[in-house]
């Protein structure tokens, strides 16, 4: 199986801080790769460097066979990489509809695609004409995922989509991600909720101190409490 994304020896500095110190990571096509690790180890920075928000100091990022390390962010997005940031990334002054239309840079989403979005996130249909800033936290997160679904993407970079959400909304969110996976999308997902990670992930990569310290099948990590304890300082059983 080919890799849709291959990161090799990636170093990223933010101001005077060395955040990524040689990340090597592969995201297989059509599968969900979980990027796990303690807080502050460089997971978000990895996603943002792939998206071009932070410039790579060294190393390479290959997407769909092309070296995109020096590409500007809009070019990466137009090439098919969708990004859902940790802070939801919605435009609060615009309506839900405007957010969705804006998210599809190649043209407004068609009716069939919108129906899929509404099926995954019914509240978005109810608040279609409302300003996104007036939505609840969970609805905002739904919109942020829905925006990524507004257009066909090859690779999704999703940063902690269930953070701070109520259990019922976490389950809705997991359902939507499962559907995205079912459509054959490749996903690199940063997730702190182990139950969600276990349910969705095909592969896992664990980060520590700006590097990938372990890669393997998600099922293997999920089954080994000792490995979890050693890599991340906690176990799913404790979760």
């Amino acid at each position: 199986m080919s890799d849709v994304l291959r990161i090799e020896g990636l170093f990223t500095d933010i101001a005077q801080y060395h955040i990524l110190e040689g990340v090597d990571l592969a995201v297989p096509r059509g599968q969900v790769t979980m990027l796990l690790g303690r807080n502050g180890v460089g997971k978000t920075t990895t996603l943002k460097t792939v998206m071009g928000h932070w410039a790579a100091k060294a190393g390479s990022i290959r997407y769909d066979g092309q070296d995109i390390t020096a590409w500007p962010t809009p070019a990466r997005a137009r090439a098919g990489i969708g990004f859902v940031p940790e802070d939801m990334g919605i435009f609060t002054d615009l309506t839900v509809e405007e957010n969705m239309v804006l998210a599809a840079a190649s043209g407004p989403p068609d009716a069939a695609r919108l129906e899929r979005v509404f099926a995954a996130f019914p509240p978005l249909k109810t608040f279609w004409k409302s300003e996104a800033g007036t939505l609840s936290g969970g609805q905002k997160q739904m919109l942020s995922i829905a925006r990524a679904m507004a257009e066909e993407r090859v690779l999704y970079l999703i940063d902690e989509p269930t953070k701070g959400l109520a259990p019922a909304i976490v389950s809705t969110m997991a359902g939507a991600l499962r559907e995205l996976k079912g459509q054959g999308a490749s996903i690199l997902l940063v997730e702190q909720n182990f139950a969600v990670a276990k349910a969705l992930g095909d592969h896992a990569a664990v980060m520590d101190d700006g590097r990938i310290v372990w890669t393997g099948a998600m099922a293997e990590l999920a089954a080994d409490a000792g490995l979890q304890e050693r890599l991340m300082g906690l176990s799913m059983e404790a979760e």
Partner: protein
């Protein structure tokens, strides 16, 4: 149809709707509702400043770009009309050529400034626009052979737009070329204002708003932020230049003080803030309140001082010579009580 005309951007507040209708009716009927040279002068200035402030709001309110070069673009349009009228000669052709050349020159200059500086942080862009605007103001002063220097330029406009062109009476008011001139300005400003409403409510306008809120998010969707910012700067500059051209047609005089001064830039900023940023209707209310205060506050204070002359101390504060103090106080209070501008406050309904 009316909703379509305003690009679906309804006022979303009953009070705001009433206020806007009052402004529209007063400006549309100004020559007949408020006959007199001074009131017509005020009405024309309001029309032009509504357009100028709205064009600035496209930058500041909708795109989040702080520029100090807006009066420079305003001046380019005004000097375009003046120079064309002098060199081509009195006529409609000179007005059209002057206005269009001013707008094209403004857009070209904005493109150059934008491409060089919109990639950098907002504060640097603001500083660069300040430097360029100051340099142009000095240049206009120095090149007196072309621009008339500090004295400015006077020129002739088509006779049909001057008081000498008489057309008889209507509703008891003598209609002459000055009234025609006013309606030329009113219609042009209204059309350009509606165009701005169309722009900000188009997909292009939505991208600008997205960029204002978070430029990285907009880039992460696939929009080239620098391209959109530059396009907004060029559009805003071209419309400011057309406002300047209309001002030059109205005044039949251009000079650094009337079109290029930094004081006008500060006035524009205040009008945007008072009216409410990121809403075209804010430009309407901001310009109306500011221009009326500039023109009539002194008179109002004179009346108030006379009425209170029997009282101690108060007439001293209400002395017409202290009008700037009250104007300043009015602005402080309006910013304090309406932090989102008058339109923002009215729309929030609180």
């Amino acid at each position: 149809m009316l909703v379509n005309l305003i690009s679906g951007d309804t006022p979303r507040s009953a009070v705001l709707t009433v206020l806007l209708l009052i402004v529209l009716v007063c400006l549309a009927g100004a020559p007949f509702l408020f006959p007199g040279v001074r009131s017509l002068e005020t009405a024309a200035t309001i029309c032009i400043f509504i357009l100028l402030v709205a064009s600035y709001d496209l930058l500041l309110g909708y795109t989040g770009i702080v520029s100090f070069a807006h009066t420079m673009f305003f001046g380019l349009g005004a000097y375009g009309v003046a120079l064309a009228s002098i060199h081509i000669g009195r006529g409609w052709g000179a007005l059209i050529v002057g206005s269009l050349s001013g707008a094209v020159a403004a857009a070209a200059l904005a493109l150059i400034i934008g491409l060089f500086s919109l990639r950098v942080r907002a504060i640097f862009f603001a500083m660069i626009t300040l430097a360029v605007a100051s340099a142009v103001a000095v240049l206009v002063s120095q090149l007196f052979n072309i621009t008339g220097g500090e004295d400015g330029l006077t020129y002739l406009i088509p006779r049909e737009l001057t008081p000498a062109f008489r057309m008889g009476e209507l509703f008891g008011v003598r209609v002459n070329g000055r009234v025609l001139n006013y309606y030329l300005i009113f219609v042009a400003c209204l059309a350009l204002f509606l165009l701005l409403l169309r722009i900000v409510n188009s997909p292009f306008g939505r991208v600008l708003q997205a960029i204002r809120e978070n430029d990285f998010r907009a880039e992460a969707i696939g929009y080239r932020v620098v391209w959109y910012r530059t396009a907004a700067t060029c559009l805003s500059a071209a419309i400011a230049a057309l406002a300047g051209a209309l001002y030059a047609i109205w005044l039949r005089y251009v000079g650094p003080d009337t079109t290029l001064s930094f004081e006008i830039m500060l006035d524009i900023l205040l009008m945007v803030v008072i009216g409410g940023m990121g809403t075209m209707y804010g430009a309407v209310l901001g310009a109306v309140i500011f221009v009326l205060a500039q023109n009539y506050l002194q008179n109002l204070m004179g009346v108030a001082a006379e009425a209170t002359e029997a009282l101690p101390i108060l007439p001293l504060f209400l002395d017409p010579n202290r009008w700037l103090l009250w104007l300043g106080l009015l602005f402080i209070l309006s910013v304090y009580f309406f932090p989102t501008g008058i339109v923002g406050r009215l729309r929030s309904g609180r």
